[in-house]
Symmetry: C2
Subunit: 429 residues, 2 copies
């Protein structure tokens, strides 16, 4: 299928096969509203709704849903509505005889260039959970924090380990974050000290938004979970390793993480990712029945999504590669994560966000954090042939995550998840 | 000061010195709205606002703020507004010459009996954090989970350990919860099994609501934290010990907790609790400067609040005592918890909830959970002289938390935090 409404370069993340949703504002329309990305443009979903493009879709009050400043209500409507909207958009964008298309005429009537759109968080995130679903990452970090013999805890191969994160400090790509200060204990023989984190890190993650929720006390099966995932974004789970290492026992990461988490603004739907399903790693031991794939669900729980992290070090104008990984390395699938989350009756709400945990793969270049690349700061990581090295992230460095699926002549991509680290505030402490 | 508008018994939790806020609805007014409890009545804050009682208060659009279905906006306004509203209410309730009082006439015009009010969550809780601030509880649990030598982790006396909890599953007192199912590993020599939790527990906690928030990247001092706490509720942090013990390493509690957390509906303000300040336990080692009490803040960070837990076991009509504790046992104060939470720049929002962690004291009767009372199920806990015993909470048991401060002839109390455990769903797994 080819977009005939606007030009879409083959290397664009935002093909007609993609159609990711986001929340944007412009100089002329300062209130955040719903958009969909195509090529280098953002289409105004509210304007399309007012033109009647979604008029025939059962269960969708399109003008209200697409007139809102977040995607939560659209997310709540479920897959039949999501698919009908996607089909209507594809028809509008590709079909010269489309009735709405004839009304619209030129692109300027319903779209602005991406460069004119200021992006906002795509949803009001009620709860944010982060999983730990890459075996390679869990093994690497466990080795450094607890030694090789205790690297992978006994529960890890039996369940998708996860923990609650902080929703308030999730920011949209492009938001600069301050280096956090806190307690650290660099010398285990001496008392802890206070100051800016000296081991600031990124974590390469993806994250999914929950669609229709479940009532408190009512679990979701793997099959139900599969149907209730709306779409995905890229995520940088910034981590202050020194704060984390000192605080995290026994109740888990807290201030080492909650100073900021960056997500990309465009939510790529699971329908757009469907052609890129891939086998997930073999699971041994076999999971308990509530985590198994039923025959009625798609066989493959993984997705072949290339993921990259690049860094623009302070004082330089260009990016250098840090990580080259792929979501297919992830041991526990998204639907297993969601089914596990709800098996005790925990209620999920539309717009809840679940991170995958750092997506490291088997090779050194696929390690998804500086902690792993520098092996806890024991070695310098060269940035290309620039002569610059890093062990952790330094002040004013910019970290960029990108990701995409390559189709035959088109791409389904996520755009950028980017953020700069500003120097710590001087607290006089 | 005596309430002359309605009768208030000396043993009532809701004296004129208290005036806790809550969200309620009635058969005649089905939309949740703001109320304040006095004696055995709920006053309609919206009605009082429309009568002009809060007309002279700078920075308060009383009709809008008290016309909302949650307290978040009122919480956001800060202590000067909170105090002015409190004074206006006290004047209205005690002063025969009050202008609004003359307009109102009888109590029925602006109030309903507590028994006619259905209570709702007092705020939309954006993020929920749980601390672990009782030394006795942390030592008891640590001993059982990790042995005596590793009971209190090295960080515990240096910082208020906390972790993120689940906001979606916080329910108001009176909401029944289902026993959760999940993975447990009762026999460490065999693989984990799936089924209903066999070690369901309560945790006696208090929790505070955050008032005005802070911007991402901008910490709060202890002094600022002191000013930004709106008020407190009682909390039962229900815990499935077998699920928790298997899952919690290394990222902390997750499904062992997030199936439900119960809070009491009436938010007792810090202004009402002010006369009941008490010294907190001596802190050795001295905390780092960002956690110390500045000379300008009130010297005592603790509060003398008697806390009780009682159980009505399945099939019985009466309650029996389980725990008798006091908030003054808590090692880390509320303001230390909040200052620590924000020291890395984590942004707090009005209506965020922070639990204290289980408030156990030094004596056996003050242990705030079945885990501690039965010492991990090793001994039966007798319920009074009923002949009934418990190691953990059984199906259809009702657990009730109460708490209050005793003044001279009056009481500042919290009402009830109550909940029943229903049998697990049969998931056929």
């Amino acid at each position: 299928m080819k977009c005939t409404f606007v030009d879409v370069a083959p290397e664009s993340d935002f093909s007609i096969q993609n159609l990711p949703y986001g929340i944007y504002s412009t100089a002329d329309a300062a209130e955040p509203h719903v958009g969909v990305a195509i090529g280098s443009h953002v289409l105004d979903m509210g304007a399309l709704a007012r033109l009647g493009l979604f008029g025939g879709i059962a269960g969708l009050d399109a003008e209200r849903v697409f007139g809102q400043p977040q995607l939560n209500e659209f997310m709540s409507l479920g897959r039949p509505v999501w698919r009908a909207v996607r089909l209507a958009l594809q028809s509008f964008l590709s079909d010269g005889e489309n009735a709405t298309r004839r009304q619209v005429g030129s692109v300027g009537a319903v779209a602005v260039p991406l460069s004119a759109a200021r992006m906002h968080l795509p949803a009001s995130i009620g709860d944010y959970t982060d999983f730990y679903a890459s075996r390679e990452h869990a093994t690497n970090v466990g080795t450094m924090f607890r030694g090789k013999d205790n690297a992978l805890m006994p529960n890890w191969t039996h369940l998708p380990v996860g923990y609650h994160g902080r929703a308030s400090s999730i920011v949209v790509s492009g938001t600069a974050l301050r280096r956090p200060s806190g307690q650290r204990r660099p010398d285990p023989a001496r008392p802890p000290v206070f100051g800016p984190s000296a081991r600031l890190d990124y974590e390469l993650e993806a994250a999914f938004f929950v669609g229709p929720g479940n009532a408190l006390g009512t679990p979701l099966s793997v099959e139900q979970a599969e149907e209730r995932i709306f779409g995905m974004v890229l995520m940088n789970d910034w981590s202050a390793r020194d704060i984390q290492a000192w605080e995290y026992v026994p109740l888990g990461p807290f201030l080492g993480k909650n100073f900021g988490t960056t997500i990309s603004p465009w939510v790529v739907t699971m329908d757009a990712l469907e052609p890129f399903r891939a086998p997930q790693p073999a699971q041994d031991p076999e999971p308990l029945p509530y985590l198994r794939t039923p025959p009625s669900a798609p066989a493959h729980g993984g997705y072949d999504i290339s993921l990259s992290v690049d860094i623009k070090p302070s004082g330089r104008d260009e990016f250098f590669p840090l990580t080259r990984s792929n979501l297919k390395h992830m041991y526990w699938s998204l639907r297993q994560q969601l089914a596990h989350h709800a098996i005790n009756g925990c209620n999920m709400r539309p717009g809840d966000l679940c991170g995958t945990g750092t997506i490291s793969g088997p090779t050194d270049e696929s390690f998804g954090s500086m902690l792993e690349l520098s092996w806890s700061g024991q070695k310098d990581v060269p940035l290309g042939d620039s002569g610059v090295t890093r062990k952790f992230i330094e002040d004013n460095d910019v970290v960029r995550i990108t990701g995409s699926c390559q189709g035959d002549g088109f791409r389904v991509g996520f755009g950028e998840c980017i953020g700069q680290v500003l120097p710590a505030l001087d607290l006089g402490l």
